[in-house]
């Protein structure tokens, strides 16, 4: 095996005497070894990677080279000289002279040097004749000097002139000044890049040096699928509810009757939320085929006349309005169905329910509002529940979400009384922001269902999108939900750890 370039370089370095001026120029060494400079640079870099074997200092060298045109002049002489020499002694008409070697370029130069003369009054048009007997080709001589590597000896003016005539090129060469390193040795073995099954089998890895890894580069991303960030948050919230003993409600019914969405929740038929501007009503199927008969009559009565200790809304309640189908505006419609089922049990048993699912609003869309979003809802039904219990359970829930600073503001919801909005202090925004809504279900809602009088139902809700946007730093909801999602964001989204 012939010695590698690196080995040849090391051998040359070996012969270099020590001392401050010692070292090798990569350009000279390459020339001396008859190698392409780049090949030598490759060897320098591979030796550098080994540590302190060599020291290599990058240098930029300016050098003059002949241009292709310059090479031509070097061989044939400068255009002006060629023209001068090919001109016959008696001269030529100007138009013919221009066709001689050297041509028009040489003509203007030779005129400027006063080597030629133009006889304007000659018969048959202007005639070119020699003005001197003999000339010297200084340009060619200068180029010869450059070719010999003595460009530095030429006067600056001449170099600039030749450069302007595009005969010379100034090139910058990157080279290295190579010296012995602190761990210099000529016996540098070739390094292995990777461990192989053979090395393991033969144990040869024990004798072989290995090329060091570049730990500052990134690794190769794994080929894998990714979960959607909003649904990662949904999974965590589900987990929190399950940890707190809440049972999941069946919310897989986007179409709901006005009855379960509003009337059962004691939301009067003229309530603004029941307006075309806020709710998606259905054209087909436009009406719910059936409502629970006996219960519907009780709901009608409590709306129109009151009862159960209530004044009622005192308006004409219409069955047709209750039968109008819509896309549910909240998952509380399912809570109402679940509480109705609970009331129909032989014996009341306490329950804790939750759901996280889509709801629909016919609202104006903007950076934080879409026509559909996910509602998170928790419901507890038991005897003797208080507002203090609601606040306690909210604190428990939000603490698990990583939100500890809470305060409560009185609010109005048509179906809860008392009602409270939940605010949390946001360290980033430096203000209190609303994080949820909550309350105690009204007796006008519970008693017509047939729940015992001493049963209270406390409930709260929040959107899934808002905490997700805060968690993942997303400003425009369209980048998170829907088909305009940025898949790169999905690929890059971290784990959802809410308590962190």
């Amino acid at each position: 095996m012939s010695p590698s370039v690196a080995e040849l370089l090391l051998q040359r370095l070996e012969r270099e005497a020590a001392g401050p001026g010692a070292g090798l120029c990569s350009l000279e060494t390459a020339a001396a070894l008859g190698l392409d400079h780049q090949t030598l640079v490759g060897a320098v870099k591979s030796l550098q990677a080994l540590g302190e074997v060599i020291e290599a200092e990058a240098r930029a060298t300016r050098r003059w080279e002949l241009s292709p045109e310059g090479v031509e002049v070097l061989r044939d002489g400068s255009p002006e000289v060629r023209l001068f020499r090919s001109l016959p002694a008696e001269g030529l008409p100007q138009s013919d002279a221009m066709k001689l070697p050297g041509g028009s370029v040489g003509f203007s130069k030779a005129m400027a040097n006063k080597w030629l003369r133009l006889e304007k009054g000659a018969p048959g048009g202007p005639r070119v004749v020699r003005a001197v007997a003999e000339v010297q080709d200084g340009v060619q001589e200068s180029l010869q000097q450059v070719q010999r590597g003595e460009a530095e000896n030429l006067p600056e003016r001449e170099r600039t002139d030749l450069k302007r005539r595009k005969l010379l090129l100034e090139v910058t060469l990157k080279s290295y000044w190579i010296r012995k390193g602190s761990a210099f040795s000529t016996a540098v073995a070739r390094q292995e890049t990777e461990l192989t099954p053979e090395m393991i089998a033969t144990g040869s890895w024990q004798q072989r040096p290995f090329k060091p890894y570049n730990f500052s580069a990134l690794g190769l991303p794994p080929a894998c699928g990714h979960l959607h960030p909003l649904l990662k948050v949904r999974s965590q919230l589900r987990q929190i509810f399950l940890e707190m003993g809440f049972t999941e409600m069946p919310t897989n019914n986007f179409v709901e009757s006005s009855f379960w969405n509003f009337d059962a929740l004691f939301q009067p038929q003229q309530h603004p939320a029941r307006d075309q501007h806020d709710t998606f009503f259905l054209q087909d199927p436009a009406k719910a085929p059936e409502l629970p008969a006996g219960y519907t009559a009780k709901v009608k009565k409590v709306h129109s006349q009151g009862g159960y200790g209530s004044q009622g809304y005192k308006y004409e309640w219409r069955l047709e309005e209750a039968r109008r189908n819509l896309l549910r505006t909240h998952t509380t419609s399912t809570s109402a169905r679940m509480l109705y089922q609970l009331a129909r049990q032989e014996k009341f048993s306490p329950v804790k329910y939750f759901s996280i699912d889509r709801v629909f609003r016919n609202e104006s869309l903007d950076a934080t509002h879409l026509a559909e979003f996910h509602q998170v809802e928790g419901v507890v039904a038991d005897r003797g529940l208080t507002l203090g219990h609601l606040m306690g359970i909210l604190r428990q829930f939000f603490t698990k979400l990583g939100i500890t600073q809470l305060r409560f503001k009185p609010a109005y919801n048509p179906y809860t009384e008392p009602s409270m909005e939940v605010f949390s202090y946001h360290e980033g925004l430096k203000k209190w922001v609303e994080v949820g809504n909550s309350g105690v279900f009204r007796p006008e809602l519970l008693l017509p269902m047939g729940l015992p009088e001493n049963v209270s139902v406390i409930a709260w809700g929040l959107s899934l999108e808002r905490p997700t946007m805060i968690k993942y730093g997303i400003n425009n909801i369209r980048e998170l939900v829907g088909h305009r999602v940025n898949l790169q964001m999905v690929y890059d989204s971290p784990l959802c750890r809410l308590d962190a």
Partner: protein, 625 residues
């Protein structure tokens, strides 16, 4: 939630807020407090007062929070105009500081400065709740409003009252007009349920007649107009009016329009559209005749009660209202306003137990009194009698009283406790399966998408080469845009749109979604139902049917369904409009067809603005529960 805007200076003056306290200690807190409140700083030119104002703003913000209001914005007329129309237009506008306060939707008594101040002053125990008095004039001297039977099909109800010897100022007058507008927009449901008319009583003479006439027969000079118009002309006149055009539809198609006349045939108003110019009130008006007409008598009575309780404050005899008689077509006469005070009895134990506190009965009575619910202990000392004033129509049940006690006690003073309710949690089986599958699908190299449940008819039908009638899609009656015409019947369009929005991403794109679709189903109580679908797409330079097929095999493996005819799954060649001919198969499992897979038809790919081949799979996962 209605928003009321009030001038800060007027509010503070009315609240009797003085700046006599020592500020030095408070000033230190200002910057912190101001930023904590997160309020937009006012465009206040008087920088000297800024710090003092910041304290005042913060204190008022805290008071609002405690009381259940929200100080939404601190601004000025100039600021508002500048934001809406640009700084040029705002030149010369007032830079008096305005508070925009969000008021709970059922508290009509807080919709004006007068009501807000009264509510807050009583809350802070600075004043006692005034008692509203109805003065019934001697027989024959009071105002009468006679309802004729023609009104029955258009606007059957009317109530009326008089504010005697009132003194308006510019501010009071503006507030009076604003309150009517706020009521119109909220409880009156944009004048559909109730419309209010207020008139200078000295320009007219009773009795008044509320009747309904053909539009051509009604002729008068509408408010702020210079000439008379017929009712039909008035409708045309206001068709382009930015404000009034929204109310025209309420009567436009009725054969008769409602109208109120005085005894000389002067038109007071044509509700719910416009008053007559003749009876226009001004800040010099001394006697105001108020009529409220509508389709909901309960709401009409509430609206009248609110107006008279709020503004009788400025009458010569404050808080007294002169009653008017309303005569029904059947001859029955009712005196309005009702100004009814109702008594409720609630046990103090009940209040304590609902809130989770243990206050004495007298302390609870005091708390309720601070909420404008005058209360005292009765009987053996355990019962509280609460008087509900005519301003508090929101108090319908004892639970409303409990809430007011809790607000006065301070929500944030209530001891938090964990309920002892013991329950075992259960997951919904369908959601449990969904959660488990999602994880393994991501592990199989597919990325989860989350697409909209609503879409255009085109997305679920036309673009997939189907007719909408073949889809059983649920249709929305009032979509604002085509994006919300139907509920999706398939997940595929959402995934294809997701790819279209991410065409710049490196190929292949492998997406999946597990979510609900909706179809009509006459066997359910609402006539429609959801199905949980799983859909996956593979988008690359080659169709990759084998990849989507492999994913199906993997899913079946996860679901423990073997690939055989008897008790497992099979796929059989079929045709589907969305698929390339000969490249579509139907998936059978659990003895039924559960979905399809195949290479998408080039027309489908093009219609979803895609350029590469694509294969897809969609199944209903409910049979695998």
């Amino acid at each position: 939630m209605p928003t009321v805007s009030v001038k800060r200076d007027l509010l503070f003056q009315a609240l009797g807020r003085t700046y006599s306290q020592s500020y030095s200690d408070k000033l230190a807190r200002v910057s912190e407090a101001g930023s904590r409140a997160g309020l937009r700083s006012p465009c206040c030119s008087c920088k000297n007062n800024l710090s003092i104002n910041a304290i005042a703003d913060e204190e008022f913000n805290e008071l609002c929070f405690e009381f259940g209001l929200e100080l939404d914005e601190i601004t000025s007329e100039k600021d508002i105009i500048s934001k809406e129309k640009g700084e040029e237009k705002a030149k010369g506008a007032s830079d008096t500081i305005l508070y925009k306060i969000d008021v709970p939707a059922n508290r009509y008594d807080l919709l004006c400065l007068e009501g807000l101040v009264r509510g807050l002053q009583v809350f802070k125990e600075r004043i006692n709740l005034p008692r509203y008095e109805k003065i019934i004039p001697p027989q024959g001297e009071g105002q009468r409003l006679i309802i004729t039977e023609e009104t029955v099909h258009v606007r059957p109800h009317a109530v009326a009252a008089v504010l005697r010897n009132i003194t308006f100022t510019k501010e009071r007058y503006d507030s009076f007009i604003d309150l009517q507008e706020k009521l119109h927009q909220n409880i009156c449901r944009r004048r559909a349920l109730v419309a209010i008319g207020t008139h200078d009583l000295d320009t007219i003479s009773g009795p008044f007649t509320f009747t309904a006439k053909a539009p051509s027969e009604i002729k008068f000079k509408p408010l702020n107009q210079s000439q008379e118009y017929t009712a039909s002309q008035i409708m045309d006149l206001y068709r382009t009016d930015s404000h009034l055009r929204h109310y025209l539809h309420l009567i436009e198609n009725k054969p008769l329009y409602p109208v109120i006349y005085d005894s000389n045939g002067v038109v007071l108003s044509m509700p719910p559209i416009i008053n007559g110019d003749h009876t226009k009130i001004s800040i010099n008006t001394r006697n105001v005749f108020i009529e409220c007409t509508g389709t909901d008598i309960t709401k009409a009575k509430i609206v009248l009660d609110i107006i008279v309780t709020m503004f009788s404050e400025y009458c010569e005899k404050p808080f007294s209202v002169e009653a008017a008689e309303v005569v029904y077509p059947n001859g029955k006469t009712i005196i309005y306003p009702e100004l009814a005070y109702r008594k409720e009895k609630v046990k103090s134990d009940h209040i304590n137990k609902k809130i989770g506190i243990s206050e004495t009965p007298s302390s609870l009575a005091k708390l309720l009194t601070r909420m404008c619910l005058k209360s005292h202990v009765i009987g053996n000392g355990n019962n509280i009698e609460i008087e509900i004033p005519p301003t508090r129509a929101d108090i319908m049940h004892a639970c409303d009283i409990v809430e007011d006690a809790a607000i006065a006690y301070g929500y944030n003073n209530i001891q938090m406790t964990i309920p002892k309710t013991y329950t075992i949690a259960n997951q919904l089986p369908l959601n449990k399966l969904t959660e488990l599958l999602r994880l393994d699908l991501a592990a199989a190299g597919f990325t989860e998408a989350l697409t909209f449940a609503l879409c255009s008819q085109e997305d679920v039908a036309d673009k997939l080469g189907m007719d909408i009638s073949a889809t059983k899609a649920v249709r929305i009656a009032n979509p604002k845009t085509a994006e919300f015409q139907v509920a999706r019947t398939t997940l595929l369009p959402g995934l294809l749109k997701t790819i279209a929005a991410n065409r710049k991403m490196p190929l292949p794109l492998k997406l999946f979604e597990i979510s609900d679709i909706v179809v009509k189903d006459p066997n359910t109580d609402v006539g429609a139902r959801n199905y949980r679908h799983f859909c996956a797409v593979y988008y690359n330079k080659s169709p990759g049917f084998e990849i989507i097929h492999g994913l199906l095999d993997r899913v079946m493996q996860l679901l423990e369904v073997p690939p055989n005819e008897e008790n497992g799954y099979t796929i059989k060649a079929t045709e589907g409009s969305a698929f390339f001919p000969g490249r579509c198969a139907e998936i059978f499992a659990k003895g039924q067809s559960v979905g399809k897979l195949g290479v998408l038809h080039p027309d489908v790919i093009t219609k979803f603005e895609l350029t590469m081949p694509c294969s897809a799979l969609e199944i209903n996962i409910e049979p695998f529960l």
